[in-house]
């Protein structure tokens, strides 16, 4: 099959010219359109749905379909499409008259508060309202594309080609089992590809680690790889994945699954947190290191964690000034701060200033206020396990302070039925743990498939795992393991949302970018309506129902509701994700099956 290849690609690509609102721009066929535009200073990719705000991209992840861009006659995620000669990118900078007039009314709350109790007025209004939202056009686009459906069989499917996933895949294949790796990015390797610092706790260098595992994978006949392919979740009858590039839906047939989808860097909640120039932590590294894009001179990193420090150092290395801010001071990191420069702690509120891109940042902290000139802002305050697939599987998720919503699993990395997890998605914070978890998940999956001889090996690995957990002081894992043995969910305690950087609910601090839902909308739903279950907040506002399927907003929304209502996040709960967890075009589904 032509679409199976081994994940390593020439990144150079050729020079192409693309057009942004009529202007000719140079790009490379190896980079996404969004990146080519950003590097040339064209930062606005589209407008938001309800309020017509200017939007760029937050992450390069193809699953985060926050903003769609008109390329040619189609509306697509500009981070998913790579530059091609002659591409035409259109952004409409004008705002419709009705939106200008009525936009003060168009907050997330408008559906059930402001509009119109008079039946005749309502009939007039509704005809206008349905035309007002900034939705992509689908009606007039010529339906010339065709897709196809292919069945792929394997013993084990590994979702995610990062360190944990690759380790798991290699371990499985060493036991003689056929393995399929599915990864959404263009190359395997996950974070190792673009985080250029060594992995703590691993005695070899990052380059060696990556090279070694990729060589093993590519020379292994038992392992097949599908890159640029998104795992779209478990339907009742089949698990599926799909590739936009290949216009193919894969129906997966496997005896076991290992989910290693890593973490999501949550957007921080501050004023104007939706304008172009605000990025997720891993996206910044990817842009600076992997694509070598000049992002600017000055940056603001929100959040003080080991991860933020890594980013700060790498930004400095590429000549970018860094200011770090956080809402609390973490003692353990304090000593490292002098290395990277300015740092503002006890921040109460952040406001990004700018309309079409970030120009300045206002920071209010306990000792006064600062006004910084910045070119971009990095959200690095909090990463939550990427629980989208697990949520769709209806697996139990518990909230652990400082870690996030974590799937309940046991020491064997078993989640449920024939599904196992490994790596960041299990909440583990250190790469060294991801390596062991990959091995354990692989061995357990093989055991489940009948390879009973691996049992002593599993026990040995679990012993090693427990020692490492102790060494690294990851005590909360014990709580997760305990939960996996009993149906009783242990309550966590209330915590201040780590991503929250506003003093009070704001109309310009967004939680849900797809649906334009602000902190003020949520606060009113919680306070005026008294709804504190995320399910009910979702039903009243539409939060988590947008194109990103709650991937970026669900945890933030849950933590914010919990903060407003003083409830424990587990009581607020999450909403259920549904298959497909990432949307699939109808022409692919209707395309018919191929052998």
């Amino acid at each position: 099959m032509d679409n199976f290849f081994n994940g390593i690609r020439d990144r150079q690509g050729e020079k192409v010219s693309i057009f942004y609102c009529g202007r000719n721009i140079e790009g490379y066929s190896s980079e996404p359109v969004s990146l080519a535009l950003y590097s040339k200073g064209y930062k606005v990719l589209g407008r938001s749905k309800k309020l017509y705000r200017f939007r760029g991209f937050y992450s390069l992840d193809p699953q985060d379909r926050i903003v769609l861009t008109k390329i040619g006659d189609e509306y697509v995620n500009a981070c998913e499409i790579y530059c091609q000669d002659g591409q035409n990118i259109e952004v409409d900078f004008s705002t419709p008259f009705l939106v200008k007039v009525f936009s003060p009314l168009l907050d997330g709350y408008f559906q059930h508060r402001r509009f119109v109790k008079n039946r005749i007025l309502w009939r007039l209004a509704v005809d206008k309202i349905k035309q007002m939202a900034n939705h992509p056009e689908v009606r007039h686009i010529e339906a010339r594309k065709t897709g196809r459906i292919i069945r792929v069989a394997s013993d084990i499917v590994v979702v995610g080609g990062g360190l944990a996933g690759l380790t798991a895949a290699y371990t499985v294949s060493q036991l003689g089992l056929k393995t399929l790796i599915i990864d959404k990015s263009i190359e395997l390797g996950g974070r190792l590809r673009y985080d250029y610092m060594d992995v703590p706790g691993v005695p070899v260098s990052r380059e060696y680690l990556l090279e070694d595992i990729l060589t093993k994978i590519s020379s292994d006949g038992n392992i097949k790889t599908l890159t640029r392919t998104i795992f779209t979740g478990f339907f009742e009858d089949y698990p599926t994945a799909y590739s936009q590039e290949e216009r193919t839906l894969y129906i997966l047939k496997a005896k076991g699954f290992i989910i290693a989808t890593g973490v999501v860097d949550l957007p921080c909640i501050f004023r104007n947190n939706d304008i172009p120039g605000i990025f997720s932590a891993s996206t910044v590294l990817e842009m600076v290191n992997r694509y070598r894009v000049k992002l600017g001179e000055k940056s603001l990193i929100i959040g003080l964690s080991q991860n933020s420090l890594r980013i700060a150092e790498q930004l400095k290395r590429s000549g970018i000034d860094v200011v770090m801010v956080d809402n609390s001071r973490s003692q353990s990191i304090q000593s490292d701060l002098s290395r990277v420069g300015e740092c503002i702690v006890n921040v109460r509120e952040i406001e990004a200033v700018g309309r079409k891109c970030v120009e300045k940042a206002n920071i209010i902290h306990d000792d006064g206020r600062d006004r910084l000139e910045v070119d971009f802002i990095v959200c690095s305050a909090f990463s939550n396990p990427d629980i989208l697939i697990l949520n769709q599987l209806d697996s139990r998720l518990i909230y652990i302070g400082g870690v996030g919503f974590v799937p309940v699993h046991d020491e064997y990395m078993h989640l449920k039925d024939n599904i196992f997890i490994a790596g960041g998605v299990s909440g583990s914070p250190y790469s060294i743990l991801h390596l062991i978890e990959g091995e354990i998940a692989a061995l357990s999956a093989a055991y489940k498939l009948g390879a009973k001889e691996v049992e002593p090996l599993i026990e040995e690995k679990i012993k090693e795992y427990r020692t490492k957990l102790n060494e690294m002081n990851v005590k909360w894992k014990n709580k997760v393991f305990r939960n996996s043995r009993s149906e009783l969910i242990e309550n966590s305690s209330f915590t201040y949302p780590p991503t929250l950087f506003i003093e009070r609910p704001r109309r310009d601090a967004f939680i849900c970018f797809c649906e334009d839902i602000t902190t003020e909308d949520i606060s009113r739903t919680v306070h005026e309506k008294g709804y504190t279950l995320l399910e009910l907040v979702k039903r009243s506002l539409g939060v988590c129902t947008g194109r990103c399927q709650g991937r970026l907003c669900m945890v933030n929304a849950a933590l914010y509701v919990s903060y407003l209502s003083n409830l424990d996040p587990s009581q607020v709960g999450l909403t259920k994700a549904r298959a497909p967890v990432t949307s699939i075009p109808l022409y692919i589904l209707a395309g018919g099956e191929e052998e």
């Binding site: 939202a133 992509p136 009742e236 009858d237 399910e535 194109r547 549904r578 075009p585 109808l586």
Partner: protein, 378 residues
């Protein structure tokens, strides 16, 4: 009087509200999860007044009128929008059937329009009418916002003093001297005089505990939803050839489903890829420009099917005193519930059976006076 309504969906909420408006006494509503958890928020959020039978049509017309009137009082805008239903017809038999029934509809004041293929093409240029023989368009049908209707009732009922018990499943109903006496919940026992079961697909479990059997069974139905697009489909389009339907919500998402065989019973609320593929094929054939749309979500809910595809409300004389049911809507519960609540509240408080309610009594199965509704969508 102490009345317990079991079930926090649209039916239970409407009954509780209507009882409270009539000052019926102490009203408790029990919901095993949270308000709207069951089938109410899994619905396609559409209403219609066009049924094969006069009983159902008349009931739906009155019901929607009630809801529109109540909308002015609600804190939530139920977003009622009469975008119409259009049935695409593929053979003479179907056209005949609609022509025949439209006499009854005219009598009730809900005339529709018959369209020739050219007229369909003119009015709805996006529909592929190559194999279509004609269509029936019902302008009185439309959509509403299922969550907001439920929340609207909920807040009204709460203001009127209805006591809500969420996360409180009912384990058993105690009957003493052929009279409902107590409800057993997780938190203890509650004394009651009247129990109304508005438990939708889960009603059989409770009825069987007190030895009552009605011929109803839940059937799982699946729905697809696309990403939001610029609004262009006003009516709900029902393809009588493939059994698919498709419409666009005011939020812009395209919502639809198709007949797909499913064994009856409370099977897990999951969706099948085979179903999605069948719908995708049918709907891209009917509206080719939807090929570029992307399916964002699928979900499932139950239709509580009764033998004659019509709802069951009220009580049988032999049943324990104080026991009432309102369920078995067979897929069109949301549009009926506003009137069901009103009529049942009257029935409970006065003992009289309102005219509109009479055909829907549970006794009709024994008396063999079935309603013979055949127009079920999805």
């Amino acid at each position: 009087m102490r009345i317990a309504v079991i079930g926090g969906g649209i039916t239970g909420l409407s009954i509780a509200y209507n009882l409270a408006v009539r000052d019926a006494g102490e009203i408790h509503l029990f919901e095993k999860n949270w308000i709207t958890y069951g089938s109410s928020t899994r619905s396609g959020a559409r209403f219609r007044v066009h049924f094969w039978t006069e009983e159902n049509s008349r009931f739906a017309i009155e019901s929607i009128k009630r809801l529109e009137k109540l909308a002015g009082k609600m804190e939530w805008n139920p977003i009622i929008y009469r975008g119409g239903y259009i049935w695409l017809l593929f053979n003479e038999h179907q056209i005949e059937r609609f022509k025949e029934t439209s006499k009854m509809w005219s009598k009730l004041g809900v005339q529709g329009v018959f369209l020739e293929p050219e007229e369909i093409r003119e009015r709805y240029s996006y529909i592929n009418v190559d194999d279509v023989l004609g269509a029936f368009y019902g302008p009185q049908d439309g959509s509403l916002h299922h969550d907001y209707v439920c929340f609207g009732y909920y807040s009204l009922a709460k203001k009127l003093g209805v006591i809500f018990h969420e996360l409180t499943p009912i384990n058993d109903i105690n009957i003493v001297d052929n009279k409902v006496k107590q409800l057993k919940t997780l938190n203890g026992v509650v004394d009651v005089d009247v129990v109304v079961l508005a438990t939708g697909a889960w009603t059989n479990e409770l009825l069987e505990k007190i030895g009552i059997r009605l011929s109803t069974e839940p059937v799982r139905k699946e729905v697809c939803l696309t990403e939001p697009y610029h609004h262009f489909i006003d009516p709900l389009i029902i393809d009588m050839g493939s059994g698919a339907y498709v419409g666009q919500t005011l939020k812009g998402e395209i919502l639809g489903s198709i007949d797909y065989p499913t064994p009856p019973g409370l099977i897990k609320l999951e969706t099948r890829l085979e179903f999605v593929i069948k719908w995708a094929k049918a709907i891209t054939k009917r509206i080719p420009s939807l090929k570029n749309a992307r399916i964002m979500r699928t979900w499932a809910g139950y239709y509580m099917m009764s033998t004659d595809n019509s709802h069951i409300m009220g009580r049988e004389p032999e049943w324990p005193e104080g026991l009432y049911v309102a369920y078995g809507y067979s897929g069109h519960g949301f549009m009926m519930a506003p009137l069901v609540g009103e009529l049942l509240a009257e029935n409970i408080l006065t003992g009289k059976t309102p005219e509109l309610m009479r055909p829907f009594l549970p006794t009709r199965f024994k008396e063999n006076k079935l309603i013979q509704e055949k127009l079920v969508i999805g």
